[in-house]
């Protein structure tokens, strides 16, 4: 269809402007902190100021007597509550289950990281709660902080004494390949080795977390309003495992959510606290995180220390890969934490390459730091960074082009579906095509001239290439169950067609910036042929949507969109039966196009509204074999992951006087399969690139040896700003549609953050080598001016 026609129609492929913008641009968005319930109390958390310590005493008597204070809570008030659960169990290389500590709502006996909640003051106003918190006397015996992962595993102090070790698990993948991998390394013509750190990050969605608990005594109904990417998951985890509230008595609402990037997937203590406190006090209780609090309570991301090795034969073919990684879990196991360095990381170590033998070892370690869990990309950025740094290093050691070395080892277009040696099967892809596209977009041919121009200004210019693969829409449920997931990973949707033809779609996916209200409506509009303005997308409330696993892992359209397509197809099938009855024709002859039903080979027709009206006013209706009404629900459980892939090119200028790196150009050639709204897809890539470049050059979550967070505010944690970036060049034309979901989509939310860090660091290395600093083999992220400058000195 011509581009103009697509745009006018507003269906799949149109860059429809976002409907949600209108409320956000006028200050009418409704975020959780905008919700105030009459009679609500305010909660202020008193948190540990030390990383590790024994709680000797808590005296709240003076605070409880202060103005406005309703109650001061400690762990004693939650003696009946369960542990905040971990949603994924990893089995180690010896067949043993991971060590799993208790994670109480409020600290019991010990504090285990700066920010660990000890007590909560609930008062009439927030200021009264804060004032009273200063009168709570807490005595803590400080213990040595467990900070260094290798030392923590070697012995010494324990984060959780009852577990007997700081090693959560020692995972090997694929364990059966280990000996063959060793053998391949022994026979290799060349081995490239890198040791690198994937720096700890803080997700930092701009909306801090908020939770408001409410309880209705006469019905026993609990309601939690929370900043969540997946309200149903919170209902499941909190209701079933922590507070023992059955689903029908617990409603979780996530209204407009101001960004998440993974950090709002997880069930947090504050959610359980306000829900239970509202029940105990019989009044609504509200908690709003400050940004400082967010830094010490929101789950952090990344924090891997890795040694990786690549074996090559004499013709530069990759013959084997092995990695040893220490992955920081922090003080407790956050919801999906164990899955991140294992199944979301090890399964991606083949990258875009046909390396036949791979062995991944991951030691997950408890430390006295904030729990670490999924952050945009979750395991896949860690895998991609190691691999793409390593391939570049191998090319440099061998004196071959990093483009050629990659092309030679790429899985070729005719090899799909491709079974990797790390369990997954890539359904489609064309890596040569994305790399070709990148070479064109980034004007690689003109690079030398640009480098010469930079040199004339005293700057070192470098080009960095990275190719990535990711696995999105994590599935299917029966497989992830075998891998340790304690939940299914399907999605549901209900499509309610109203009597006058308008449609309300209830989806278990949730938007925290991705524009689902616009794109999901485009899909249904396209399928039925009515205007998208007649379609409303509803999400974020467990009381009106059957079930939902939520939004993460770039799964919304691939999984949630597929459920919606399935439900819409059920609608169309039933509507055709009604149309057939109205036109006295055979159902098999009914066609639906542009919102009109016709009978093939005749001039008979009925409009969409004729049929929907008949469904609800069934005066002329096949009541003997069809129920009235037009509403359908579908669950969709994918048969495989989806595998977006792409080629990224970064061009930097390094100032040799200061070590400052400037990204002067960035090009991204992505294969996302089919695309519903190109404008939104490109926006997702821009945002991902900013986070990936931020990781590579700016962002760094730093603890000192005592477990104090040194980068605990925007004064110390370098958030990327508008003047840190150039305009990005993005393209998604090299599409190989997914073969196993009905829309042929792959997911686009995380790609930018996955592919860009190695491209940036490869570019910095290239610039330094061109400048004669050939001794530099690696610079850890963030490549800050001090690190780059220090690397140049020797």
């Amino acid at each position: 269809m011509p581009k103009d026609e697509i745009a006018n129609k507003g269906g799949i492929g149109a860059s429809t402007k976002r409907r949600e913008d209108l409320r956000f641009l006028t200050g009418k968005g409704r975020y959780t902190d905008d919700i105030n319930i009459r009679g609500q109390l305010y909660a202020h958390f008193i948190r540990s100021e030390v990383a590790h310590g024994r709680i000797i005493s808590i005296d709240a008597s003076a605070a409880e007597a202060m103005p406005g204070v309703a109650k001061v809570f400690t762990s004693a008030d939650f003696a009946q509550a369960g542990s905040i659960p971990c949603g994924w169990q990893v089995t180690d290389r010896h067949g043993k289950a991971m060590l799993e500590p208790k994670h109480p709502i409020l600290a019991e006996g010990k504090v285990r990281h700066v920010g660990d909640p000890i007590a909560v003051v609930v008062a009439e106003t927030l200021d009264q709660a804060r004032d009273a918190a200063e009168a709570v006397v807490i005595e803590i015996e400080e213990l040595p902080a467990v900070m260094d992962m290798k030392a923590a595993v070697a012995g010494g102090d324990l984060v959780h004494e009852e577990l007997g070790s700081n090693l959560c698990f020692d995972w090997g993948f694929v364990e059966e390949n280990k000996a063959a991998v060793e053998e391949a390394f022994a026979k290799a013509a060349h081995v490239t080795t890198l040791e690198l750190v994937n720096n700890r990050l803080v997700a930092n969605p701009m909306e801090p977390r908020v939770a408001v608990g409410d309880f209705e005594e006469w019905t026993g109904q609990h309601t939690l309003y929370t900043t969540s990417q997946n309200p149903h998951v919170i209902r499941l985890l909190m209701g079933a495992f922590v507070l023992s509230i059955p689903e029908h008595k617990l409603r979780v609402v996530a209204p407009d959510v101001g960004g998440g990037f993974g950090s709002k997937i997880f069930h947090y203590a504050e959610e359980a606290f306000v829900t239970k406190a509202a029940h105990i006090l019989k009044r609504p209780v509200k908690w709003t995180s400050t940004r400082s609090e967010a830094f010490v309570t929101d789950a952090h991301g990344r924090d891997h220390v890795t040694k990786i090795q690549l074996a090559l034969d004499a013709q530069n073919n990759f013959t084997a890969l092995r990695t040893d990684t220490y992955a920081n879990m922090g003080a407790y196991l956050s919801t999906f934490a164990p899955s991140v360095p294992t199944w979301l990381h090890g399964t991606l170590m083949a990258g875009n390459y046909k390396t036949p033998l791979i062995y991944v070892n991951v030691k997950a370690v408890f430390t006295n730091t904030v729990p670490v869990d999924a952050y945009r990309g979750a395991g896949r950025p860690e895998a991609t960074f190691q691999l793409e740094r390593l391939v570049d290093q191998a090319a440099r050691e061998l004196g071959v082009s990093p483009f050629d070395l990659r092309r030679q080892n790429f899985i070729q277009p005719d090899q799909f579906p491709y079974q990797t040696p790390v369990a997954v099967v890539y359904d489609t892809g064309n890596y040569q095509a994305t790399l070709d596209k990148l070479v064109e977009m980034a004007d690689v041919a003109g690079f030398e001239a640009r480098a010469a121009e930079s040199k004339s200004r005293g700057k070192l210019r470098g080009f960095g290439l990275a190719h990535y693969i990711e696995a999105c829409g994590i599935a299917p449920s029966n497989l992830v169950g075998q891998l340790g997931a304690r939940a299914g990973l399907y999605e549901s949707a209900s499509v309610r067609v109203n009597a006058t033809g308008s449609i309300t779609v209830f989806t278990g996916s949730h938007s925290h910036g991705q524009g689902h209200e616009t794109t999901f409506a485009q899909v249904v509009s396209d399928m039925i042929g009515i205007d998208a303005s007649q379609i409303e997308i509803v999400h974020g409330d467990t009381s009106n949507t059957p079930m939902g696993m939520g939004t993460y892992g770039s799964r919304s359209l691939a999984v949630g969109g597929s459920a919606m397509v399935k439900a819409t197809n059920k609608i169309i099938n039933k509507a055709k039966k009604i149309a057939a009855h109205l036109m006295e024709a055979s159902e098999a002859d009914i066609e639906l196009k542009d919102g009109v039903f016709t009978v093939a080979g005749t001039d008979k027709s009925k409009t969409w509204v004729d049929v929907t009206l008949a469904a609800y006013v069934p005066h002329n209706y096949p009541l003997e074999n069809l129920e009235p009404g037009l509403e359908e629900t579908a669950f969709y459980d994918p048969s495989n992951f989806t595998y977006p892939a792409g080629a990224y090119g970064c061009e930097v200028e390094v100032d040799p006087e200061t070590g400052k790196v400037e990204v002067v150009a960035f090009s991204a050639a992505d294969d996302f399969g089919n695309v519903v709204n190109p404008m939104i897809v490109e926006g997702q890539v821009h945002g991902g690139l900013a986070q990936g470049i931020g990781q590579a050059l700016l962002e760094h979550c730093v603890y000192d040896e005592n477990g104090q967070l040194l980068s605990g505010s925007y004064m110390d944690y370098a958030m990327p700003r508008a003047d840190d970036f150039p305009m990005f060049q993005v393209d998604h034309s090299c599409a190989t549609p997914c073969t196993h979901n009905p829309l042929g989509v792959k997911g686009c939310g995380e790609a930018g953050a996955i592919g860009s860090p190695p491209a940036v660091i490869n570019a910095v290395l290239d610039a330094l080598h061109r400048g004669g600093f050939t001794h530099v083999t690696h610079i850890d992220m963030p490549a800050s001016p001090s690190r780059v400058w220090a690397a140049m000195q020797r």
Partner: protein, 162 residues
């Protein structure tokens, strides 16, 4: 408690305040205007940016009592009288200059002040001018495009028009 009155979006608004009550608290809790957001506690993120007597101000950085009697404009006061978007808001919509929407009110207020001071800024001037506002979603690309469009530069530099 001290009663403070100021003009917000053309209407007189009064609320009881303590000395420590911030302007953003006055607006969100006193005036019930929740479009102005709080994204940090160190005056870094700019989500709370409003106009005080025509100047862009981070409303988490100023006490309500210090701006008694001032003319304050918030995001709720930016659209046309008939409710339609003003050209800057429209440009954010046209260019997909927002995703989660949380930084957006501050970004629009900061951009409006930027354009008031510099009606035809270059891309570099826009990036520098918005350095006090953090967006975690867009990578700033489409925000810069929106400000260029709002300043009538849709056909220059080959970026806003693409």
């Amino acid at each position: 408690m001290t009663k403070v009155t100021m003009t917000v979006n053309g209407k007189a608004v009064s609320a009881e305040t303590e000395g420590r009550t911030l302007l953003v608290q006055f607006l969100r809790e006193g005036a019930g205007l929740t479009g102005t957001h709080v994204g940090c506690d160190t005056s870094q993120c700019g989500a709370c940016t409003v106009h005080v007597n025509g100047q862009a101000v981070k409303s988490c950085t100023i006490f309500a009592q210090d701006v008694a009697g001032a003319e304050v404009r918030t995001i709720e006061g930016m659209a046309h009288a008939d409710g339609s978007l003003n050209p800057l808001q429209q440009a954010f919509n046209d260019c997909h200059g927002l995703q989660c929407g949380f930084c957006t009110p501050g970004m629009v207020m900061a951009s409006a002040a930027l354009l008031a001071n510099n009606p035809r800024p270059t891309e570099a001037e826009i990036r520098h001018g918005l350095e006090g506002n953090i967006c975690r979603c867009t990578g700033y690309h489409n925000i810069v495009k929106a400000v260029l469009q709002a300043s009538g530069q849709t056909d220059t530099q080959g970026v806003a028009a693409e």
